[in-house]
């Protein structure tokens, strides 16, 4: 599939060279409230939308797009976003809709006949820079891109959002060892550390998964741990990186964040709420936002 947007994300054009946008954590919170409700709305027509994992990485994805990815004068960003945990696509689609890259009509057709957005992002569609859905692929793509950027002397950053379950894939650790060894510096990965995978708590299933940040550091990365639902904390961790090596932000999150009955309940990894549950979820989100 070819499309003019293949391989780049279009932002609102900005004058001058590519610049980092101003960051406003209050607006970020409002957007995330709107986007959670929007994702729930779409879920009413789709049975397996993976809401839990979308809600856990929503602040992360929003902060990267709105808070740190640079905007170029021509409207294209020199930077790249890869959602390596592809099943969290609704978070990315919601952000792309907010940015005007996915029209609302297209968003409404997610996973519907006539639509073109699936549960997992497809390379070539506007705003999508890699096909993901099989866990453990995105980091290698990012490092390959960054390696090519180095060869071609392009000033580009690659952002990758991964899940903690994904870090159980061996392919991730091949690249983890490799990236700093190759001198790759411009990859910024954020791990959505919600301590849940499909079948339950990661700390129960694989206790030796922890400590995570130490393992990442041992492989040569800069690693910091933050509250993944704090846009400010995610922003500051990325902006404040020391540099000289790739960065991995370990972002503590809650799977299903924002809806009481979804939080930390494995079923909501993929289930969609029924009409009553839907209403309750909206009420909870509105109440929390007013407070």
């Amino acid at each position: 599939m070819t499309s003019p947007a293949r391989g780049t994300t279009r932002f609102t054009p900005s004058p001058g060279p590519a610049t980092k946008p101003p960051f406003d954590p209050v607006q970020a919170r409002t957007r995330c409230w709107r986007m959670r409700k929007r994702i729930l709305q779409v879920s009413q027509k789709v049975s397996a939308l993976h809401i839990g994992g979308a809600f856990s990485c929503l602040e992360i994805v929003d902060t990267i797009y709105h808070g740190v990815m640079r905007r170029g004068a021509d409207g294209n960003s020199p930077d790249t976003f890869i959602l390596s945990k592809g099943h969290g696509s609704m978070a990315q689609y919601a952000v792309l809709e907010e940015m005007g890259i996915i029209p609302p009509e297209e968003m409404d057709l997610t996973c519907q006949p006539g639509g073109r957005r699936a549960t997992h992002p497809d390379y070539g569609l506007p705003g999508i820079e890699a096909s993901t859905g099989s866990l453990g692929h995105g980091l290698a793509l990012a490092v390959g891109m960054s390696l090519a950027d180095g060869i071609q002397q392009h000033d580009r950053l690659v952002y990758v959002v991964m899940s903690d379950g994904e870090l159980e894939e061996g392919s991730v650790w091949e690249v983890m060892m490799l990236a700093p060894s190759l001198g790759v510096k411009n990859v910024i990965a954020v791990v959505d550390l919600n301590d849940f995978q499909s079948l339950g708590r990661t700390s129960k299933i694989l206790p030796n998964f922890y400590p995570v940040a130490e393992k990442i550091r041992a492989f040569g990365w800069e690693a910091v741990e933050v509250d993944g639902h704090s846009p400010q904390a995610v922003h500051d961790a990325i902006v404040g990186r020391k540099g000289g090596r790739p960065l991995m932000v370990v972002a503590r999150t809650i799977k299903g964040k924002g809806v009481s009955y979804m939080e930390n309940v494995p079923m909501w990894h993929y289930r969609s709420p029924n009409p009553q549950e839907y209403q309750q979820a909206l009420d909870e989100l509105d109440r929390a936002h007013r407070e």
Binding site: G7, G124, H137, A140, G144, L147, I151, S171, L178, L182
Partner: protein
């Protein structure tokens, strides 16, 4: 072929700054020296990490480069199969996966190193193309074709010391086209890769014993298969013989039989492939081929039984 590959890659890389190579701790040896000296930044060794090799190549291709991934055939496509499928084929990226030691080339290294079903496995992937040149000259042409190709490619090579077979071929190498490498009438032999040498020995034997001129074709492009050209061959000759260093499952023989049926061919069709078996048998490359039933005398006896 290894040397030809690296010599040609050097030329290709000189002509096109987007060409690069990523290896997984296996490298086309000495002949790579010149490349590495001149284009050090376009040579990457990821270590013994084939999934990373393919994933990185995909990322580089997404940035407009034309990477070659290079290692022993089994490790180039089987270990990172899903990276080949998703990263390269699903995203349709211009990456060439070079498998050295295709077929049974790595005879004494045993079954872990034999790529005897690689064509079948790679053929099943949408967007994938496959090239298996039969000699150093075709290898050179194939590497240029890979660098020009807009999508994923599996380039199946042998190892070292292959003889030149196509110096006097009546037709040039053209990607996607069955290539006549020896003219003849009545009978023709189709082959690809290293075993084409045996196919030519077979043509010589048939000519000696039966008289006449036997034609030979290099079916270097296994995907997309030249259906038109092959249909013409099936119509033109009375007897068509396939000799392939590949499993009977999903190789040229099976595909040609399907095509013969579809095109209503009337010729006699003999297909000789590797058995669908892991044979625990050691010796030279030729010894292993013979254990699979591939030897000019054995083939001749079966054809004219």
């Amino acid at each position: 072929m290894r040397d030809t590959f690296s010599r040609t890659l050097y030329q290709v890389a000189k002509a096109d700054p987007k060409v690069c190579i990523v290896v997984a701790d296996i490298s086309p040896a000495g002949s790579m020296q010149q490349y590495r000296e001149e284009f050090p930044e376009r040579f990457t060794n990821v270590g013994v990490a084939e999934q990373a090799m393919i994933g990185l190549c995909a990322g580089m291709a997404m940035r407009g480069m034309k990477p070659f991934a290079y290692t022993i055939a089994t490790f180039a496509i089987y270990r990172p199969f899903e990276q080949v499928r998703v990263d390269l084929c699903y995203q349709n990226l211009p990456v060439t996966v070079v498998g050295i030691g295709g077929g049974l080339t790595y005879s004494v290294l045993g079954g872990t190193h034999h790529a005897q079903e690689d064509i079948a496995v790679m053929s099943a992937l949408p967007n994938m193309s496959i090239l298996a040149p039969c000699d150093p000259l075709e290898t050179e042409a194939a590497v240029w074709a890979c660098a020009r190709h807009p999508g994923p490619m599996y380039l199946r090579l042998g190892k070292a010391g292959e003889p030149v077979l196509t110096a006097n071929a009546p037709e040039p190498f053209e990607f996607g086209r069955a290539r006549c490498i020896k003219r003849g009438a009545g009978t023709c032999v189709l082959s690809f890769g290293l075993v084409t040498k045996m196919a030519l020995e077979l043509t010589a034997k048939i000519e000696r014993e039966q008289g006449g001129q036997v034609a030979a074709y290099s079916i270097h492009t296994l995907k997309p298969l030249d259906r038109e050209g092959l249909s013409r061959i099936l119509a033109q000759y009375d007897r068509v013989i396939v000799v392939e260093e590949h499993s009977v499952v999903g190789g040229l023989g099976q595909q040609l039989k399907a095509l013969a049926f579809e095109s209503g061919a009337r010729c006699r069709l003999h297909a000789f492939s590797l058995r669908d078996e892991f044979i625990h048998c050691y010796g030279s490359h030729d010894d292993l081929l013979k254990a699979h039933g591939l030897h000019p005398d054995l083939l001749y006896a079966k054809i004219f039984a």
